[in-house]
């Protein structure tokens, strides 16, 4: 089966600009996650979708981050405006259902804010 697709792979922007990341999960996977991985740290969950509904966005900085999953398939994560501390790898993952154990991750988008 095809894996979790993410684009772009790399992005460099200036602070206060906006940026968007795209994720296409494995076909049929109901649950989709966005994680933020800052250099030297483990991935941190930003938001979780079940189909096209948000299950958990408690760690999402809502003043600047937003995410949507239209039609319960693809998802977009947006940052507006970006700050220097947003520099990180943004990982998307999916799983078949809420009771599955172990996700499938995409290759990530490396964001550098200068």
């Amino acid at each position: 089966e095809a894996g979790v697709a993410q684009s772009p792979r790399y992005k460099i922007i200036e602070k206060r600009q906006s940026v968007a990341f795209w994720c296409n999960p494995i076909s049929g996977h109901a649950t989709l996650y966005w994680y933020q991985q800052i250099l030297g740290q483990g991935p941190k969950l930003l938001i979780q979708f079940q189909n096209n509904g948000v299950v958990d966005d408690s760690q999402l900085p809502k003043d600047r981050f937003s995410a949507e999953r239209l039609k319960g398939v693809d998802s977009t994560l947006k940052i507006q405006p970006a700050k220097l501390e947003d520099s990180a790898v943004y990982l998307c993952a999916s799983s078949p259902d809420r009771a599955n154990y172990g996700y499938t991750f995409g290759s990530g988008t490396r964001l550098t804010v200068v």
């Binding site: 979790v4 993410q6 649950t31 030297g40 740290q41 483990g42 991935p43 941190k44 969950l45 979780q48 299950v55 958990d56 990982l91 993952a93 809420r98 009771a99 599955n100 154990y101 172990g102 996700y103 499938t104 991750f105 995409g106 290759s107 990530g108 490396r110």
Partner: protein, 114 residues
Amino acid sequence: AQSVTQLDSQVPVFEEAPVELRCNYSSSVSVYLFWYVQYPNQGLQLLLKYLSGSTLVESINGFEAEFNKSQTSFHLRKPSVHISDTAEYFCAVMTSYNTDKLIFGTGTRLQVFP
């Protein structure tokens, strides 16, 4: 709340030597445990997982981990490492009551030298 501690941020080792990457977790309820590997510029790949049953779990590429409930540990071991094992390794925990949430440790960088 659950947490994961990976005590070693970096582990240098020579090729064909044994290695152990340490992982300790904290949780008041029963847990599922995972090890993920991240090769340079790639996403996270599931290496092995403990859900129940035998406390010793193995991966297809020679790694093994043992769940020790009394010591709340899930250390990763390999008797003989290869250059290709050079990567970042993340331990992660998920509670049996909330199988949506993976909580990651900060990672251990395994560097294998010839």
